[in-house]
Amino acid sequence: MVHGAWFWLLGRIDLDSFAFVRAWREPSLDRLIAAGAAAMVVLGAIAAFAIITRMRKWRYLWENWFTSLDHKKIGILYIALSGVMLTRAVIEAVLMRMQQAVAVNQPGIVKPEHFGELFSTHGSIMIFFMAMPFLIGLINYVMPLQIGARDVAFPLLNSVSLWMTVGGAVLMMASLVIGKFSTGGWSGYPPYTEMAFNSGVGPDYWIWAVTLSSLGTMMTGINFAVTIYKSRAPGMHLFRMPLFCWTSLCVSILMIFAMPPLTVATALLALDRYLDFHFFTNDLGGNMMNYANLFWLFGHPEVYILILPAFGVYSEVISTFSSKRLYGYRSLVYATMAIAVLSFTVWLHHFFTMGQNADINAFFGVATMTIGIPTGVKVYDWILTMYRGRVRFTVPMLFSIAFIVTFVIGGMSGIMLAVPPLDYVVHNTLFLVAHFHNMLIPGLLYGMIAGYQFWFPKAFGFRLDERWGRIAFGCWVSGFYLAFMPLYVLGAMGMPRRMAGVFQSEYLPWLLVAAVGGFLVLAGLVALFVQLWVSIRRREEASVPVGDPWDARSLEWGIAAPPPEYNFAHIPDIETRDPFYAAKEHGTAYDPPRHYDDIEMPKNSKVGPLLGIAGAACAFGLVWYIWWLAAAAFVAIWGVVIARSFVRDIYKTIPAAEVAREHQRWLSQVAAARGIPRELETTPANQGLAEGAAA
């Protein structure tokens, strides 16, 4: 322990806090791996800094991206953050697969404590810093365009949410370099994470990273919900919204109600750890069962926060690439709402084995199965959307098909886990791990990748490379099956989750297959990056400036790609579902508006990044007991908020003439472009204009 002035200045940081120093003092493989990871963080940061400085892009980034309140840019930044964090968490996953494959009756490559950190960061990152930013980014980008809005309801709040999340992610990255992360898993169950058993900085890193992210997410939920209720274009009734907007609405409502339980759970745990409260301690009246309830009161709705946006993406993708209206639109809407409501009634199935009586377990088991009904309805509806359509097997569509097949398998194992007596024998085993990866990889990640491939041309004006997309698809799907089907078997064979080593030789073949699958998934991720690189290099021939490369249906496809800052030169009047498709059929999709008006848009603001920095600093101070830093950052946060509330000059006006000039330039591009039949959509002939659209 450190004392005196050092403690006052730097809290409990000492030399041994640094991964590099630990590796220097004891250069074991385990510590070298940890130092390597830390080096990647440090070198990555230095490299990014150097490149930006060299290219003189700081001002550009700051003015055009970091301080921007444009929902499209914020969306893209969210997804970029998600990509970085996904990379780290996939590498960790591969490391864990390797460890388990190697550590059969042997020590393996990492030590048990390090393994504990790996599964904890993997889970926490995948949920809070990969999945959430990805889906929030996608909703941010797409939803306002789909409802015909110029921005979200509270653009500044949107930026604050983003930078809070970034702050949390920075904390996760810092934990690789300074200190050690929690070994308590992504759910951070006490009393294991209490001071009595883990007095280090690990659980504190987890608490504050998750808290920052959950605060940001709660604000995002409010923002999206209000946007959908208040900012729809005239005539865009709720039941004319694309399904993606419906799922976004349900997700926002879930965020509003499900994030507070997480905040309460982490806050009470923090009180236990910092101020010697007794909520979840073993002694003095604490009760960890309350934590389990609070956490899963968040945790289960969270599952649907993660999955519903992907359901929305699939609905858009399948309808577009089947060249057909979505089957059973109302059914799908009601199913979505049913899932959202039911998701609050099933949290107890995460701990059937805590000793409740049979009535309670049976009640929650049946409630859990009930969610299977609307989910099943959705799957059937998607298949019926393809029925009597003309299905094109583009990359987003491939991911959607793989999703349906894979998700159904995951649903099956989910129903099994919902049966308490079956849960008793597979709970906490790899069967459970296989199940939730089987839900979240197709039910979230495939959907996000499909959405990324689908809307990328809209955001950047050029299509992503089709061939590399297919390679990525092949790796992701085969990798998934190889990595996770063996885990079902291992779970049924009685292998618990989170094992740093194994003493049953019969597990080995399955662990080897799973390791191969892990590498394939990593290859799939690399293929996605290669695809991005290749596509940027060939952006000229794949460019789709007109903005409708897939002969698509909703509003966002009827504007330029990339869209102007204000989205719509003229806010459209909506008369039907699939308004853009209807307009194409009537030949009015590219009619110029009668007149152009001045458009008022929010000015950039430094508040978001400042709050992100202050939030991360405050959290870092709390983790390391650097009280002056925590206090100063806390005061700074509220100072910035109050100061901002005195700023009056927050809007800028884009004159009608400029809007008209920009819009007419695009219309001339439309006039010059040649409409192409759907068969040619993946060829350079595709300029983003569908055949017969500009009649």
Binding site: K324, V419, R497
Partner: protein
């Protein structure tokens, strides 16, 4: 790509059926049930799987068919881009899952009550065991025999075994897959598990709830022996000269991995209750000092 799906299905079927079953045959799996609880759980697994096929098979058959028939290249297929609803199909789409879930719900309700881990199993001369979760080992107290073991649970074949669980550290979870399980063990609380072995043998037992760096080594052997042999073992163990006294327990409750199972010849009466109650109030006054201090009083 179109060939990818059937190939995926084939390998999946192979994975799902042949190989896993043979794998489970050589491992501590509930598919190799050695007692009535695990046997019922195994049967339930197959019943649920069969019922789910009603929902799942239409997808596995229908999806490839629809994809093939309505692919872009097939100009013969019926193309109706505005067809988006049918009441008949709607009944089917909602009806099939509702019916299946209703049936499953009945199965779930009855089996959850029948297989309630707290429910005593039928049979004579029940054996009582008190399991205490420690880092990273299990202490099994036999209150009627006044003996205890660490990391070895000896039980008589054919007699019901009633296990009370608590923890003297973080939460853990006890499972013996071939007999059934699992249930959490939590400090200051008592949970229960009822099991029975049908045939003699050595069954793998474990903690499934992560509790630190020794977690993966926290296994124990469950030895199911004939009833007479059990009584003989208990009597013989009681003859030993290794009592579980206060100092021994204090050492035992420290974080450690035990290489070999241990047997204790004598255990003070009410020890389990004291371990449990030291976290509970108002019977006791505040605990100070290391956990386990009061357990021996």
């Amino acid at each position: 790509m179109r060939a990818g799906l059937p190939a995926g299905c084939r390998s999946l079927l192979l994975l799902l059926l042949a190989a896993p079953l043979s794998a489970c045959a050589h491992s501590p799996s509930f598919f190799q049930a050695a007692g009535p609880v695990a046997a019922e759980q195994r049967d339930l697994f197959w019943i649920v799987t069969a019922l789910l096929m009603l929902v799942v098979l239409p997808v596995f058959i229908g999806l490839p068919y629809v994809l093939w028939r309505f692919r872009q290249g097939n100009r013969q297929s019926d193309y109706r881009p505005t067809w988006d609803f049918s009441w008949k199909l709607e009944w089917l789409v909602w009806g099939v899952p509702v019916v299946v879930v209703a049936i499953l719900g009945v199965v779930l309700w009855t089996t959850t009550h029948r297989l309630d881990p707290y429910k005593r199993l039928p049979g004579k001369s029940e054996v009582r065991v008190q399991a205490v979760a420690l880092d990273w080992k299990w202490l099994f107290i036999y209150p009627d025999q006044h003996i205890a073991t660490v990391n070895r649970l000896v039980i008589p074949v054919g007699r019901p075994v009633h296990i009370d669980l608590t923890s003297d550290t973080v939460m853990q979870s006890l499972m013996i897959p071939q007999l059934g399980g699992q249930i959490y063990a939590m400090a200051g609380m008592r949970t229960q598990l009822n099991l029975k072995a049908d045939r003699p043998g050595s069954y793998f037992g474990e903690n499934t709830q992560y509790n630190g760096k020794g977690f993966h080594k926290q296994n124990f052997e469950t030895l199911a022996v004939p009833s007479a042999a059990f009584d003989a073992w208990a009597a013989q163990t009681a003859q030993g000269d290794r009592p579980l006294d206060r100092a021994t327990y204090a050492r035992l409750s420290q974080e450690s991995v035990i290489a070999r199972p241990i047997s204790f010849s004598a255990v003070p009466a009410g020890m389990f209750d004291r371990i449990m109650r030291k976290y509970m109030y108002p019977e006791h006054k505040p605990v100070s000092g290391p956990a386990g201090d009061e357990a021996m009083q």
